[in-house]
């Protein structure tokens, strides 16, 4: 009974480890100057820069910007950002060097307000800190789940068998001592069984009990039908959200553009991939194997960096993971823009998934529960001004959840 004991404690231990490390890190993390500015900067960076730059050492289209502030002066950066082409023309050595290094592609010009520029700079200066332990911790936790259920049962089973063995042998010992003929375990069990069924009431009891069990079981399985949580199919291209969204910090919005405009989040078309992968021909995990699949699809020659004329293009057939039933209308923009919901709320820690899996149940109950509890993002939205006043009037004090504005009415999703 040792292992179960540990099992039960495992999460705790992990938590301890976790806390320890994280605190440890945060201590020697650089002191933040103006956190507000950094945050703002981060937004601007995400919005404008992430398509070409990484907050790290890796090269995307442009160089990784980790510690760029040490390499370049503030002024230099400002010039470069405002208009790299002019800057190059002005004949700055470093500028030209970079221009050469990145096969003569000048960086597009960005005219920031000074404040914004400050912010970006602040962000560049104080890049975010990654706590590596974070994911490992979660991974452990995830495994832990598994151990609990399956193995515990196994141990209990073993224990029972052991018990049976001990008792029967004990019984035999006693019989032997009484000079009665002993019986094997199987015999004992058989006799016991006969004894048991000889009494009708037992049989009835067993029948009733098993009936209840069966009903319960079938009910659970049936209500599990069509629920594919943790569904994790293999994709035609081993695309890693961890690498793109997580490490390289590419904004979800960059590829899944329509998520903010449409009901569909939208799978990026190949030309979106090519925006970056025209230049990045090698991946961190899989090297060239996976990226070359995109080239096959669109007919691109990485060496000459040109599209092959008249190439029969092959579509990329992604396997869909989140399949909402046809009968329910779901709109991404509704949730992301109007509702200000984070992608992760439904899709889970997507930025940590190498292979994406279905995080949420996507059952109706799951939707409804969220609608029952989530507050409507009414502040500063003129559409709600009047409504909000009236609702505050109506539900004094209570928080205005989605269901209070009819968010759990059938017709809002089924038509």
């Amino acid at each position: 009974m040792m292992i179960p004991f540990i099992n039960n404690r495992l999460p705790l231990i992990i938590v301890f480890v976790f806390i320890f490390f994280s605190t440890a890190f945060s201590q020697d993390a650089p002191v933040v100057v103006d956190s507000a500015a950094v945050l703002k900067g981060e937004q601007i960076f995400k919005a404008n820069c992430t398509s070409c730059h990484v907050m790290g050492d890796k090269k995307l289209i442009g160089p990784g910007l980790l510690g760029v502030t040490d390499r370049r002066t503030k002024e230099w950066l400002k010039k470069w950002i405002n208009s790299s082409s002019d800057f190059i023309a002005s004949g700055d050595a470093d500028a030209i060097a970079i221009y050469e290094e990145y096969n003569k592609v000048a960086m597009p010009s960005y005219y920031f307000e000074d404040a914004d520029y400050e912010a970006v700079y602040a962000y560049l200066k104080n890049p975010p800190v990654k706590v590596e332990v974070l994911d490992t911790g979660d991974l452990l936790a995830a495994e832990d789940e598994g151990i609990k259920t399956s193995t515990q049962l196994m141990f209990i089973g073993l224990f029972l068998l052991l018990l049976v063995y001990l008792l029967t042998s004990l019984k035999n010992k006693l019989k032997a001592s009484l000079k009665q003929e002993t019986e094997t375990i199987s015999e004992t069990l058989f006799n016991q069984f006969n004894l048991f069924i000889s009494n009708n009431r037992n049989v009835v009891f067993v029948v009733v009990a098993s009936f209840i069990v069966v009903v319960k079981f079938s009910f659970d399985t049936l209500s599990g039908v069509g629920v594919y949580t943790k569904y994790q199919p293999e994709q035609p291209i081993a695309f890693s959200h961890k690498v793109h969204a997580g490490e390289n910090g590419v904004d979800c919005n960059y590829c899944h553009t329509s998520a903010r405009k449409s009901k569909h989040s939208g799978i990026p078309s190949a030309n979106v991939c090519m925006n970056c992968h025209t230049y990045i021909n090698e991946g961190t995990i899989t090297g060239t194997t996976e990226i070359s699949k995109i080239y096959e699809a669109v007919g691109f020659d990485p060496d000459s960096k040109t599209y092959i004329e008249g190439y029969e293009q092959q579509p990329i057939k992604w396997v869909r993971i989140h399949n909402l039933p046809d009968l329910s209308y779901f709109n991404h923009s509704q949730h992301v823009v109007a509702g200000k919901v984070e992608c992760q709320t439904c899709h889970g820690p997507i930025e940590e998934m190498d292979v994406v899996y279905q995080h949420a149940e996507l059952t109706m109950g799951w939707c409804i529960d969220c609608h029952r509890t989530t507050e409507v993002a009414m502040e500063g939205n003129e559409y709600y001004t009047e409504l909000h006043a009236q609702l505050k009037e109506k539900y004094k004090g209570q928080k205005i959840t989605v269901d209070k504005i009819g968010g759990i009415e059938c017709g809002k999703c089924h038509y």
């Binding site: 039908v225 092959q314 579509p315 992604w318 009968l327 939205n381 009047e386 009236q390 017709g411 809002k412």
Partner: protein, 986 residues
Amino acid sequence: MKTTKKYWKGLAQLHDDPIVEKLAQNEFVEELPVDEFLGDKENLSSTSSSRRDFLKFLGFSTAAATLAACETPIVKSIPYLVKPDEIIPGVANYYASTIYDGRDYASVLVKTREGRPIKIENNGTCSNSRVQASVLSLYDSARLKHPLKSNEESNWRTVDYEIKEKLSKIKDGKIALLTSTILSPTIKQLIEDFGDKYSNVEHIMMDSTPYDGILDANLESFGSRLAPSYCFDKSDVIVSFGADFLANWMANEYATDYVNGRNPKNGKMSKHYQLETNLSLSGANADKRIQIKPSEQGYLISSLLDGLRGEKFDSRLSSIVRALSSSKGKSIVISNSNDKNIQLIVNAINNELNNYTNTILVDKPTNLKQGNTSQVDNLLSDMKEGKVSALITYNVNPSYSYNKAKEFNVALKNVALKISTSSYNDETASLMDYVCPDSHNLESWGDASPKHGTYSFMQPTISPLFDTRQFQETLLSWTDRSDYLSFLKNFWIAKGIDWNTTLHDGYFNLEDKKLRLKSFIDRSKSIKNSSSTELELELYETIALGDGYQANNPWLQELPDPLTRACWDNYLTISAHTAKEFGLENWNVSNGALNGSLVDIEADGISLKNVPVLISPGQAKSTVGMAIGYGRTKAGKAGDGIGFNAYPFTGKKSISIKKVEGEYEFASIQLHHTMMGRDIVKETTLSDYIKDPSSGNHRETYATYKGKLTADKVTLYEAHDLEIGHFWNLSIDLTSCIGCGECVISCQAENNIPVVGKEEMRKSRDMHWMRIDRYFSSDMTEELSAKEKISMIDMFSEMEEPSENPEVVFQPIMCMHCNHAPCETVCPVAATTHSNEGLNQMTYNRCVGTRYCANNCPYKVRRFNWFQYSDNDKFDFNMNDDYGKMVLNPDVVVRSRGVIEKCSMCIQKIQELKLNAKKSGQPIKDKDAQTVCASSCSTNAIVFGDSNNKDSEVWRLRNDERAYDLLDHLNVRPSVFYQTKIRNKA
């Protein structure tokens, strides 16, 4: 699906930005959304257009779930390789364009999703059900998918080559270009060019229903062969001799003006007299309707002229003469006669009344009818004599719609080179050597000038589905040119048009050079009364099919005629009186369906066998009416063999009918024609209305402890809170509704309403969410029975009989969205519930189909899916057709069998509206709130909006004295309400 490869190209080129052009050459166009539903199953859902978006079969998903138990179904998602900029999957794009198929013209907005046109909205002008339905004709799989050479599949290169070869060889013979009325200046230009290139080209225009009478009359009166445009809104008295100007007469643009001239709020309405044979839509809306025989028309018109000139005239016209002479310059007199002499008298009358330049604009003529029958007849004789060596048809189907079709088909044999540009292999095309299929309006570029000085552009909203080519391109290639788009662009830019803005707006006005018109010359000769006793025939066009060009459009076939309420048929309309004479009858069989007797009809030599007879009130005695546009033989699976072809009878006045054995099965969805003395359509007269705006809108009151109250004030329990947030209401003005049925088709298109076919319609299993009830007045009334001491039983049985010349009312009925809905309370599984915005929500996927709600609905607006109407070979219409499915609205579920469905008040549009408002952080603007029935209503009879918003139109209407709830004594508190009907009669 090779054909669909260039799918979005046409779209992208709209903005013709260089990148897209480049991409176009790169052929970045493999694997397009179209393939998903046309092609293999696994593609069935790409994110750009998910399975839900095309075939949302909720039934399946529930069933599938139980079957597919544990393993996840693999669903593939195929993104574009290069996504066109303007396409955001899941968001609709609107393009201003034009619909003109040679008959109906409308400037429209086309709603597209993932590059698929799915809905047509009006763009300021008046449209009709055929325009609304044309979006389905786009996806008609009966359209030609490639050029034909002697009915064999061919390709453009060979066809073009051979045709040019042969054309250029022609020396002395005539090259005849037989087309419908051409509105497009560029096409006219192209035809000229064509004429320059080839020797003796003759361009002849024909209209399926000829208007030579008017055109020739005006040629004599004004020295120019034109048809004036009428200002019905400016005229106080409208006298129409058989001209169904609200439906199909001339241009389909008069309804709006007509209704604008009849707004009781202004304290005055135009007085509308209709003297006609068949009960037409205009007649049904007229204030005074007089039944006349076609042969009488000429006499009556000339007698009217006499009357106006102060001579003695026919007594029937007295009130008309009085009205007209009292409103000179503010009246219109029109006639549907195709007889020049009669039209000359009409002109004389209008001149007498000094209507020209006031209500009738000769200098702003409409271009919609330019056909010239005499030329067509000449062509025929030339063909007979073999003078015609090449015949090219465009937008016409003479072998079907020409009254001398038989002779025409024979004469065709003498023509060496026969080319059709029809997009169907129709009656004419199938007799031709070459068919160069024209693309659908929605696939083509183009321009049109419906009226002198008014223009509109046509732009493609999808690239040709099939290997078709629009007529203009064809002409270009025959004159060794190509690229119509640039031709069009240059043509107009040369005229100083700002291409992009006008393309965006869709229409524009341009000061054309003034027409040279002679001042009016009176050539009228009076006509004596020559009324005969024999049976006379008057042909008419139905609201649904018009001249039958779109006969293969199941939506139109299933649209019930506003007056007879029958669909999938044409028939002989006859008055009850005359029917008795000939021993003809209609009767209901055990399941209520309507049957009728058969006749053979014959008019000098031409005859039709076994034509059904439908007794229709309002038909003049000893006359019969019959609709053209039916009896197509090569229209497609939906249109073939539906009804009888009446074209051969064009111009035939007197006919003879003979009853024959057998009976005919009609598909009529209204089996009962009178209001049975019930207070369903509340009515009053203008004079009473002016005295008391709430006249005719009597509400029953009930004694309560608070005194006498109307039903809606009486309740046992607290009401649910509908004050907060939106409260969607719909107002229907029975005075403005002319019953044209455009909203019905519009609703069908928006809400994926299935077509169920004649058999089901006959069983009263129509699926339309919106219907337009038509009631005739009856001679028997409760007052009369009280006066004459008639027993209740007799009274009711007599009430069932409509009058000989009844007053007609139209009442659009859809789900009333009752706030105390009887249907909701009885559903055991709460599949239909009420929203806090006053909508009665039907949740298809919760419905188990007990139909209790449908029973308990006082308005009978709930529709049950008796069968699986989609993907079912028994219902082989657009929902059982890979192309037809493309018209489905992605935002609305396709209902499975066994569930109830009903009007949702376009909840998908409401949701979209609110979402956009939330996203943009703006309050909703009243004009943005629209249901499709409201937005498509040409007469603006239907108004939708949020009546919690005090400055909304619908709020004003809700509190109007004319507003009333249908069956208010039930106190079901409908969200849909009506405005009393007001007639302008003494």
